[in-house]
Subunit: 340 residues, 4 copies
């Protein structure tokens, strides 16, 4: 069985990775491709270098009627947050499976959208229905999902490392997640702050305490607002990739082997999370261009504390390839279909 | 009054910065330049691009007799740790002021050298005499110093941010220093791990729990071995610069203004530490190529915790320019002579 | 039908790309993987990030008996020039198809090896039998080849642009090929000249008049030794890719459309050469990571002269993917098998 | 004697370098600093990292009355071409020395402005009065200049190499200048084409046959429109620097020593042109951050042809430091004042 899929926002960095993956997916037929509302189109083969020589539908300016006329079974939204928020209701009503790569349906508490995203959520009634698609940590709800809120790139890297260890963390001690992201995380746009001359050779922290991924991480960890958690994003002078370095305190002494064991059990049989052997820590170059997360840890203080390190490609496991994992699951396909 | 100075290890990255600064220093005459023992020489103008067109002594293979024959008042050692450890005693005996950029005299406890540096210190009796030259935190002992142990690059960045805040930190809560350094920190050497193809586009943590700068930082903070401190160095794909991101917990709520105020008081009148206005965090590009440290902070959790950010050029404030600050002080010159 | 293949030199940059491609090739079974003689081995999944999670034979130190015992039909040599030169005779005698990625069998005149490569060729009798595998410019001899000399990366980029235009070039006027290569072209090795700090932010010409690819290009163009041709390689601060900018003079006025037309006719039906529409010139980022060459031109002087621009990934079309094109042809498979 | 100077366009990349140099110039007092018309201001110390800790006038939005009220002796214009063209007449009338870093007064033939710059020159009568300030090639006219047209960055790199060799070039044979520039050459601006993700890891030719620096180079070489000259600019993934690789044909065999000799004679006593010893070619890293040009050559074809290589920092010798050389000369100061 083949599913027909459409992508909205196909010309951005995440959108282009989606199109590249979907074009080679053995159980997908690309029905139609659209720019984000307001953006221009381009030829199919211009979307991504890897598409050179292949044929497929051109990226055209967004038009919901044209989208429906192309008869997709599923739609991927790689669109700005407010755009996704406004497009999703009618797409769901039309019976389509929606995989939203934006943040528009990730938070369960509608009030947080005003505080962190700066807009009042237009469809709060849909928030409970959205499945938060951190694939490896989802249960059967993902198999039945009609609306998947694809996780943010930073949350994906942090949650994959932290979630399996929550039961052994010491309460009251701060969890400190220091993350560094490549520039593509800011999207494909003209902005002096992301120009080559401003970024090359530099490095900085930004958005401390105000980054939209913070409430998303807190929600997924089940942390109350006041618990001692810190998320400190940084801008790396690389195009792609996120590496998160997370300091945790344990209730008891915990060896690197035990950390690795908990990860191994949590991700047994999952194709896209790799636990490095104790003694090795992830490097960005080993995950960039792949759909995988790499996890490793180093003990501190005889094992009472540890540094967890998690690396992903922000455009793949942090966006497009995880979206396809989620699409696969919600479509009844194997999770790795089209991704390995 | 002019001082004659020699540099040993003049062709490495830190050594070249030393030569560049000293060649333009109004109260310095360059007496002689040597490679590290075992390394080759080069013409004066080949040491550093900025020396093009200037004249001075060639860098010649190390020879202690030639060094003494050049009649220096002071010697800068930009040499490997063991080399410095073995050279210093006779240089001191000869009455020279020694500024050692290596780690050979930074630790007070000789036993730590075997554990962290892998060699038995040949001159433990000199360790108490060495002044740990984090210039802004030194007192009058620096003015009388004959042997200055120039601090490591990571420790400089971390200690400048942390030391003035020690009195208000909550005991028992972890201080987490996540630092990222440019590749020049590894020195000028042929090593696959630092080749362009392995480093460009990548990023990684390394040396967690085993980095030689950790006991140096602990010593300067006055931390007992078991206290909850973490130092997590990373390798940045840039040539120069260190940015440290430090998570701290306070005893009470502390505003960014109060953090800035403590820093301002600690560094009042010091030319090379700049406290950014609350709301701004340091960026690497603003300190690279300068002798300055930039400090900034962001509050967490209503001020109960904070992120401190500190940025320096690892080859300047983290090595060569701080060495010259120390030389200036020990020579009775103004701290900023030749540096602004 | 499936062919069993072995790779020698599997852990270098070109070798790793070969393994990545061959591991996913639908008509290939990887028989065995070896390091270059003298180099160490590694696990299969450590060869290339994209192999994470797949299984295959480990890379083991080279051993010709083990190679034969693995019963390959074909062997790829991603080894140093002299190593290839010495390995090939017995591999051919054993009846294996040999695809040599080194320069050891590219030149027809054995005397040139002493002059340009610095060694006397040990098997000059094999040079006439080697097919120079610039795939798109080969005829039926490639289909019957038992020894393929895979072209150099610079020659591939330059010859693809120049060869179809030779009939219209003005004789006696210089052809000037200015090429720029990423650092991976120098191989995976510890060398100060290719360290991050020496390369990042820099750019230089090198090897003018002495680069080994010059006699290869001259031979493939059919140029006598004295004809006015210049090849000027440069080192780019990027990991991968080659872009060649070639100045030519025509006998008559030639429009960009006519240039494109000649290229289109020369490469009609060939999947991995893309002629850009007149007005567009190739960019490195559009070919890196792909097996394709992009060609474009800009007219000068009303069409009497022109600039030709050609871009490839030096490790793919300039090495590994072209080697697989050649393997496919010599194995009776479609040229693009396993590559698109 | 001290001159009071103002800078318009002080917040751009070239402007910031100007301010950095002028602030430390022993015979200059900075009278006032302005943004380009339409741009915002900033604090003095925010203009350039090297100014941290120094004090000086803030950069304020442009206002010609305020400029005059600050009583400068000289004004540097680091403004867009049309802005410079419109500002210069009244500044000259006010008796100020004007150093224009834009292209507005470089071409002598007013008609070329419409063709290459896209605007009708508003003050063609001033073009003959403007001194083309390629400092090392200027005669006494520079000492008396009131309006200096500071050369473009590409022309500076190309002309310094070519001009002394013009008498020995073979007529009718093409001169091919392939140049590569860092991204700062495009100015400080928000533009997707110069964003980190689009530039990092890439490389491309652009503007072939239509770049504004082409008529400037042709004019300075004295080339008629149809002579076989090619200028092929490329965008390098570095922030700063230009390296030009120039292919020339000689009338007779010319050795690298003779090339070097002609350069040495042309630049005898000039502090900022360095002729490398035969056998060495310039590298970008050796000139970035310096006011110097490096020149080198490699012979081709037994000396009948050659490759000339020229490297400069596009923001210094290609803009700001050359502007100060010109200001020095026109002010009666030593050419190197404030620059070494």
């Amino acid at each position: 069985m083949v599913k027909r899929v459409s992508v909205v926002g196909a010309a951005g960095y995440s959108g282009a990775e989606l199109v590249r993956i979907l074009a080679a997916h053995p159980r997908v037929e690309v029905a139609s491709l659209f720019g984000s509302p307001g953006s221009k189109g381009c030829a199919f083969e211009a979307v991504h270098p890897a598409l050179g020589g292949r044929s497929g539908p051109a990226v055209v300016p967004f038009d919901e009627a044209a989208l429906r006329a192309s008869s997709p079974d599923a739609v991927f939204l790689a669109t700005p947050n407010e755009t996704s928020a406004s497009l999703v209701p009618s797409l769901l009503e039309a019976g389509l499976l929606v995989i939203d790569v934006s943040g528009a349906f990730r938070l369960k508490d509608a009030a947080l959208y005003q505080a962190w995203y700066g807009f009042q959520h237009p469809s709060p009634q849909l928030l409970p229905r959205a499945v938060y698609g951190l694939t490896e940590l989802c249960g059967e709800e993902l198999d039945r999902a009609r609306l998947v809120a694809n996780p943010g790139c930073y949350p994906t890297s942090i949650l994959l490392a932290l979630r399996p260890l929550l039961p052994i963390l010491e309460e009251g001690m701060p969890v400190v997640a220091v993350s560094a992201s490549g520039v593509s995380g800011a999207g494909k746009r003209a902005d002096l702050a992301y120009s080559f001359c401003e970024v090359a050779g530099s490095y900085k922290a930004y958005g401390v305490g105000v980054h939209r991924h913070e409430p998303e991480i807190r929600q997924a960890l089940g942390l109350p607002a006041g618990s001692p958690f810190a998320f400190v994003p940084h801008l790396l002078p690389v195009a792609r990739g996120i590496l998160s370095t997370i300091h945790v305190s344990f209730r008891t002494r915990v060896s690197p082997d035990e950390v690795a064991g908990r990860w191994e059990r949590a991700y047994a049989g999952r194709p896209f999370v790799r636990v490095l052997p104790p003694g090795r820590l992830p490097e960005l170059k080993d995950v960039v261009g792949t759909p995988r997360a790499h996890l490793g840890s180093a003990p501190l203080d005889g094992g009472r504390r540890a540094v967890l390190v998690s690396a992903i490609d922000n455009l793949l496991k942090g966006a497009a390839s995880q979206a396809v994992q989620n699409f696969n699951r919600a479509s009844g396909f194997a999770e790795e279909e089209g991704l390995s």
